[in-house]
């Protein structure tokens, strides 16, 4: 099965993926808040995060994430379109956004516009 591999070390924070996704879902409209992928900065690192479904259970086992000497809030990179975090809830419609793995073949829109190689389509 194909899936998108994210390498946050390569991400430059350009947010071209957000716009690609936005265009893919509403023709001719560029709006990062309608994208199903968002890029969050924490300290010196960018985390591209792809929206997924929200299930209550996800939050019951919330842990801190430690990478190197930095501690990150799990909520930040959690992909759930959850009511606590407004990023994957469309502002105008309150619609929970979810990646629908668009555009294969040849490849999803966000991957196509990501020039740094942070997003990559891989076959499992």
């Amino acid at each position: 099965m194909a899936r998108i591999k994210i390498d946050h070390n390569k991400c430059t924070g350009c947010r071209h993926c957000e716009i690609a996704c936005s265009f893919n879902h509403v023709a001719g409209v560029a709006n990062p808040r309608r994208a199903r992928i968002r890029v969050f900065r924490e300290g010196a690192t960018y985390f591209p995060t792809i929206a997924g479904p929200f299930v209550d259970a996800a939050c019951t086992s919330k842990n801190d994430l430690i990478i190197g000497d930095q501690t990150y809030d799990m909520c930040l990179i959690c992909r759930a379109s959850c009511p606590e975090k407004p990023f994957f809830i469309e502002a105008e419609t309150d619609f929970p956004l979810k990646c629908d793995f668009c555009g294969i073949p040849p490849s999803p829109s966000c991957v196509r516009w990501c020039n740094s190689g942070a997003l990559e389509l891989v076959e499992d």
Binding site: F23, G28, R33, N115
Partner: protein
């Protein structure tokens, strides 16, 4: 309306008041947006002879129509005002994410007028516009300002989508060398603008919004952008050089061509370029690539520094920093240059203007014209600590540094040697020797914004031969070339694209992207005509501000002292010889005045 939002926010700080205005379609057609629109508004609304630091001067922040659309490198927001350093028109280019977020907040432009009674921040958050008192921010560095503002927001998620531009202590203290900083990026060509913002008591502007930007033909636009990303990726100058090193990769190249200035332009070759080349850069710093909004190039390199002068994150030195703050001050230690560059970012100083001032002080001292007593600071060529100390003091106007903060020209004049000022229209030259790059020399003297390379990057053809192969030493064909590139740059700036994209793409490559975005059917010539119109309007502004042919000149050194050694040995600048031809091509008279016909067509 596509690309455009069509709305502008006008803030009057004296009255503590604001209103939203529509932008007339006619203005957008004629001036495109960004720089072009900002220039038009400034030209129409202020008296060009106004004191730049008075409440009558205006500050215009304006994003181009392609910004925020996902157009490749469409990130740039321009800041247009009358410069406190030169007295000419000024137009800074802000990179990063501010410009795009301005569009998402539902605005193309913010016009700031008057002067606030006390320090304020203009906050535009989800359509709520507030002029906030900001006393506690005054005196803070630019990164402190950004962090303080974000942590003052009750919604921590909203803080992540908020973008800021601000001035540092230098702008607050009205140092004419002050610049504007956004998202931790130094703006380009911002000398003289930070002080204008400071004079209005405006510390920062914060933006966040949920508005959409639409494009006319979505499918075609997505196709064209995809093609351009791939094109950029297959241009070796971009994918192998700019993306890996940022503009710092030019250092070695310029050194080989005898273009890099050394010690206040006293010489133009530097033997040990391996100390300052890309290898040295990667051993001095761990580089992380950062892209401005929608930029596949990602030329900005961020680094962490932790030593006794400086602790924190900052930008790795670019070509400009290495040239202006480093070699031109005789300094070859990349760590010191990097720290100096970060101090500029934190304090809000322009690296070219500040570096040029210190280089002038250093030459004065070398020639024994400046004793330690007179400025109470050391200025020794090659001494990084002198540089770092001077920058910090200059930004805070502490003690004797108050005087060097007035800029290179004022300093050279104060000590009776105006000929040691290496600049045009009171602005120090960007680090390219005009003797070994004739086109750049002509651009330096004629540029409406002073001698800054990013208003016509002649280097891309005179050295890199990207679009055509030109001999850097000849004057033949250069007036046409310089004019064309100046006009192209005016268009690129006005649309909100980054100048570096021209290193991998031809101007024609942009046309389908522009048309599918805006729903227009422009041809290259139409756009070049618009570029020319913008250039003429800027010239007209400067003429009315009191500038004329006598200001279109390089320092004597470049006409009279041939380059002493190195690859460009014996070269002098012949910018003066090309001036008449250039004026003629522009349709100006011998004094460099745009004729009546031209003025009317504006």
């Amino acid at each position: 309306m596509h690309g455009w939002i069509g709305r502008c926010l006008r803030v009057n700080l004296t009255k503590n008041d604001f209103k939203l205005e529509e932008i007339p379609q006619e203005l957008m057609d004629k001036f495109l947006g960004g720089r072009g629109l900002g220039v038009k508004i400034l030209y129409d609304e202020i008296d060009p002879t106004v004191n730049p630091l008075s409440p009558d001067n205006k500050l215009i922040f304006v994003s181009g129509p392609l910004v925020g659309t996902g157009a490749v490198t469409g990130a740039s927001c321009n800041v247009v005002t009358k410069s406190a350093l030169s007295g000419t028109i000024a137009c800074a280019k802000l990179r990063g994410h501010f410009g795009a977020e301005l569009k998402y907040s539902g605005l193309d432009m913010i016009i700031v007028e008057g002067k606030a009674e006390f320090p304020v921040i203009i906050s535009i958050m989800d359509d709520k516009i507030v002029i906030k008192p900001a006393l506690e921010y005054w005196g803070r560095t630019t990164s402190e300002t950004e962090n303080m503002f974000k942590s003052s927001l009750s919604d921590k998620w909203a803080a992540r989508d908020t973008y800021l531009l601000s001035i540092g202590p230098a702008g607050e203290k009205l140092v004419p060398l002050a610049n504007i900083i956004n998202d931790g990026f130094l703006s380009v060509g911002g000398a003289g603008i930070g002080a204008v913002m400071g004079s209005k008591n405006l510390k920062a502007i914060a933006v966040k919004g949920n508005h959409s930007v639409t494009v006319a033909d979505g499918n075609r636009f997505v196709q064209v952008v995809t093609t351009l990303i791939n094109k950029l990726n297959s241009a070796p100058l971009i994918s192998q050089s700019m993306s890996s090193w940022g503009s710092a990769f030019l250092v070695g190249l310029c050194n080989q061509k005898g273009i890099l200035p050394f010690k206040n332009f006293q010489s133009s070759s530097f033997e040990e370029s391996k100390h300052i080349g890309t290898e040295a850069l990667s051993s001095a710093f761990v580089l992380r690539s950062r892209g401005c909004f929608a930029c596949p190039i990602a030329c900005i390199k961020k680094v962490d520094v932790d030593n006794r002068f400086y602790k924190g994150k900052g930008m790795a030195p670019t070509y400009m920093a290495i040239g202006a703050l480093g070699l031109n001050c005789g300094i070859t230690d990349l760590t010191n240059i990097g720290i100096a560059n970060m101090i500029c970012g934190e304090m809000g100083l322009d690296p070219i203007a500040a570096g040029g001032t210190i280089a002038t002080a250093m030459e004065l001292e070398e020639k024994g014209l400046l004793t330690k007593d007179s400025l109470k600071l050391d200025f020794r060529f090659g001494n990084g600590e002198d540089l770092i100390q001077a920058l910090t003091l200059m930004a805070t106007k502490k003690g004797y540094a108050r005087r060097i903060g007035q800029g290179a020209k004022a300093l050279a004049e104060e000590y009776g040697h105006p000929e040691l000022f290496m600049g045009v229209k009171s602005i120090p030259l960007a680090p390219f020797d005009p003797r070994s790059l004739q086109g750049m020399g002509l651009h330096f003297v004629t540029s409406n914004y002073g001698p800054h390379h990013l208003y016509a990057y002649t280097f891309i053809d005179e050295v890199l031969s990207v679009h055509e192969k030109l001999d850097p030493w000849t004057t033949e064909g250069k007036p046409e070339f310089v004019k064309r590139l100046q006009d192209i740059t005016a268009v690129v700036d006005s649309l909100g694209l980054c100048n570096w994209s021209l290193m991998g793409l031809k101007f024609n490559n942009f046309i389908p992207m522009i048309n599918s975005c805006l729903g227009t059917s422009y041809k290259a010539e139409d756009l070049l005509q618009t570029g020319e119109r913008i250039w003429n309007l800027e010239r007209q502004f400067n003429m009315r501000a009191g500038f004329n042919r006598s200001h279109d000149i390089l320092p004597e050194r470049f006409y009279n002292e041939p380059i002493e050694d190195g690859p460009a040995k014996g070269q002098i600048s012949r910018a003066d010889e090309m001036l008449n031809d250039y004026y003629k091509l522009r349709g100006w008279d011998e004094e460099g005045r745009p004729g009546n016909e031209l003025s009317e067509s504006l």
